[in-house]
Point group: D2
Chain length 338, copies 4
């Protein structure tokens, strides 16, 4: 259930309410919105306990939540969550955020080169894999520890926040010095230990939908992070597994519309992994923005044909630049900016 | 294989070529484009036969086609096919075409009312089911024969072309007096008898993708129509069956991008059946246009809660009007008009 | 709803009941079982009408049916339907029926040879396609009309009933002289015109599940046949479309268990189309029988590597014979015979 | 590639070969079979290096492996791997192994009661979740640390080996005192950190297929464990995600046949999670054995309607006993025992 706190209530009233919730054996999750404060309450409820809460000062209303997700839902927070990634870079607000870069860091030279042109073209966040989860143990697993100083150097050079994937709870601390956003990959969407640990860090988490994860599964996975106290979760649609083989996955564009309706969290789209084809990426980026996405995750490589991973789905510098020139018109057509 | 005819070749040269193709035991399918004429040649080829053709006057080049579809492919026709539906209504050109109306005709009053507001809001084509294929034999199967005079009267009143589904080869003739476009539903995408018969009519055919039809399956189904001589095929993406249950089907937005690349035929999107939710339709319409769709198929009903079929996915008159007001900006952002 | 008729009721009582049902505006479907007679009643019901029926002589009980299918359901008929295919060949009873033969008839020599060894190995029904629905119009479409005299001759020679696919309502009559069972292919599972026409013939219909047909869709498709009066419907599980590409389709073995529980109709399994690999077929045949299937549909070819269609999934004469030797033990293990 | 060692070669020859492989920059994985010894060699190969190996004493043949998995494949080991779970309990041999128990441990009383009847009915391995990965963080997550002494006590009481799921690398050590087999759940099939750590333990690992994992993905996930040195991997088919909603997942029975052909590892089937319905489990168990499975994973509960997790798919004591009485006949029909 969710306790809607009266508009005028001061901090002391809210704290008393939280104590009361706890004393009744529940776990309280206060959420301080711009317009209203709500306390999401998790635990088994009885009529008596509800009545004990209803009579507390500051309680405007108690609303039961029937959905399997609670903290991530619109019932708890009607207004969209805006997450600050770095000075001047916010996701979930009017501006559409482009996160671009190579699938994997390969060398200082490669990453630095890409970072510069990506930044010049207008991307607000740099992406790049350091620890790579690969289907086969015999494939390139990323630069791993060696990639961290490279990422750090390039980030500082270019002056742009950085998102990278974490695949192991033991790497959370290691990556803390470079990751402005921790990415959880599709294969780990239901690695609940990892989600729980990321719920305790002070950085935004970008959670990718599993290949067979339903929209509801994704929202419940996000709940694992939020329930630990980290409210800065970005949801990412990256294509689901279907029978269609023309594309690597099937981009579920309707998921963007559904996620934005059911949840207050920002939603980004990764058309590179969804489609697996560089020539599809620009049109899908436009479709994603038109459908209401708050951001895009775009793979680009200075020399796609030489890329160690996913070269066929990476834009060249010039196609990336062209995309960045064409996107603003689509953003404006749906009331956004780039 | 495809014979590319020399640019300057006159009609007699082309006819001679066609005769030669036929005399070698092949079936010729000449396609007269604006810039070039090609002859698609179907049949088992030998080296000798190819050589016999290569030496014919007017032959610029002979290209083998490796894809399982031939006539529908870009190899045969690089420029997009523009299909004339009625005086002043073309699909496949710059203007995005909106086909709107109820899922099913229910009465003269209902259809007339909807047709008027749909036309007033700017839809260029009217849609409405007369013969309805329904999963259960116990469900409403459409007005059937009784719907034809209603459709005819309303069409003439409003002065707008009409698209309706044909589910039985015996109805092709019956529907000829009202249908400006014959729609083949998803369940009949591989009803090859129906496709073959529609290949012989003088009207455009709109072919919906089957729930489990791959992009290649859809193109080969279109080939069944084209191979009989009817070149006016419109492809329709309407969602595929996946594990996701939030939506009725999963709109495969990447299919729009793929179909436009692989084929010269126009592509429309039906977000109503794809999503099953009225609140998703406007955002998906915008996404479809942004991805490159040539048209949209939108269900709308004057009183959705009373609709005999699919009311929950039908826009109200006012939400439809709002959509038609918002679409032009998206069209312009990708170089189209409405 | 379903009217359960009292055990002792005579024919006149049942006829009176049927008249009453009709006079109330319903459509009656009487089903005469060994143990009890029931009348399935289709139409919109009111409390008054139900009461008018409840007071009729011979009515033991009136049961509402909540499922979307009615005549095919176990509520209407608890005991399994046993369908007589030919003298001494019944499906749905203790004996498991094997239907075997080539995917397509290619010549008299080919079909006669296969028919003989298939019969010798113990198959009770011969299969073979005359009209073939193919994904591409450029592929072999079967011998068509020319195949009918071949099928007729071979059938008589070998003395075995024959199942073949019908893809067009205009072929129902043509095939009547050779088909002991009309097969409806997966692509036509929801070709409701075809189902309706087959509901009027005096032969069993074998209905294959569509590639994306749910178990409920299949049962409702069977209902289209039964509602027209033809109660002899055999359901066929032949694999569904999923993301897995090792197999041509994914054999849904659970569907056998579900169909046998929800419906009284016999269920057969086609492991050849489901898997697409000859080496998988024997193990899947055994699994199907163990799961409760009433029959098997097995592709076999005298020279698989020369087969015009689906050679890679066809058993050779010797692997077919070996399978037929191994199956009886599995049948017996689950209380069946071969 | 794989080095096939000559039949007569002694240990010293093999060790020399291994040293040579390592000195060339490769990683060797020797596999000592009953009939032959092979050394799987992982790393980038050049023609020179291959020649350097070919001339070594003891080398019978060098075979390149084109499949993305190597150590798990039949090329490396033709004979089936038999894994010893406990004194007298082996999986992968003639005897089919039944692993049964509740989805989750709930109390000493519950687990002890179930363990006793499961053992009495003939199950050779006891199953039960201590750490439960649940879609929602608000659902019961298992007894966790408190469950370990319960499992230990019951195991000793009944004298039967125990399989339980590990969801976090930090729990591997904790569970070591009770787990005879570490289970990796479907959601963690591609949690490569977990797989890598389990590759270093001295216990068998049972790896469940992910809901959207292909057969090839599963084999490559198993490769992650084997590559670290743990050769005792059991593969588990537990249903995949498809559009069908009658069942919780779709049991991919063909995967059993494919996995047994492509890999030497034992394969078990979990019909409880695959179907989600207790009434389906017995028929699916029989189908799994008929298809060639080496074992079954069956959920059973003393009071299914009171189970904290998955009660609807748990067999009652009496239906479990009945299943155990019916299975031997099916085992024998395919040359196995129970």
């Amino acid at each position: 259930m969710v306790i809607i706190v009266e508009s005028g209530a001061d901090r002391q009233t809210v704290d008393n309410l939280i104590d009361k919730v706890r004393s009744l054996g529940f776990t309280p999750h206060p959420i301080f919105g711009v317009e209203k404060t709500v306390i999401a309450v998790v635990g088994h409820k009885t009529q008596e306990k509800i009545e004990a809460l209803e009579t507390m000062p500051g309680v405007q209303q108690i609303i039961p939540i029937l959905k399997p997700y609670k903290l991530v839902g619109r019932e708890v927070r009607a207004e969209p969550t805006v997450i600050s990634i770095a000075e001047g870079v916010e996701i979930g607000a009017e501006r559409v955020i482009v996160m671009a870069g190579p699938c994997a860091l390969e060398s200082y030279e490669q990453f630095s080169h890409i970072a510069h042109y990506v930044h010049a073209a207008g991307a607000q966040v740099l992406r790049g894999g350091i620890f790579k989860p690969r289907t086969s143990p015999h494939d390139f697993q990323g630069l791993r520890e060696e990639g961290i100083p490279i990422a750090k150097a390039v980030k500082e050079e270019v002056g742009v926040p950085f998102v990278t994937e974490v695949v192991d709870i033991r790497d959370i601390e290691t990556l803390h010095e470079v990751a402005d956003i921790y990415q959880v990959g599709a294969r780990n969407m239901q690695n609940f230990s990892l989600l729980t640990e990321l719920g305790k860090v002070d950085r935004p988490v970008m959670l990718k939908r599993a290949m067979s994860g339903t929209i509801e599964d994704l929202l419940q996975a996000a709940e694992y992070v939020m329930v630990e106290g980290n409210a800065d979760v970005i949801l990412c649609e990256r294509g689901i597994r279907t029978f269609e083989t023309t594309t690597r996955n099937t981009l579920d564009i309707s998921a963007v519309v559904a996620l934005k309706r059911f949840s207050h969290l920002p939603v980004v789209v990764d058309p590179s992994h969804a489609s697996g084809h560089d020539w599809m990426v620009p049109a899908l980026c436009k479709a994603a923005v038109a459908a209401g996405a708050d951001g895009l995750l775009v793979e680009t490589h200075w020399r796609p044909q030489e890329a160690m991973v996913d070269g066929h789905q990476s834009l060249t510098p010039s196609t990336f630049e062209q995309l960045m020139n064409e996107l603003p018109a689509v953003c404006e057509a749906v009331g956004r900016t780039l």
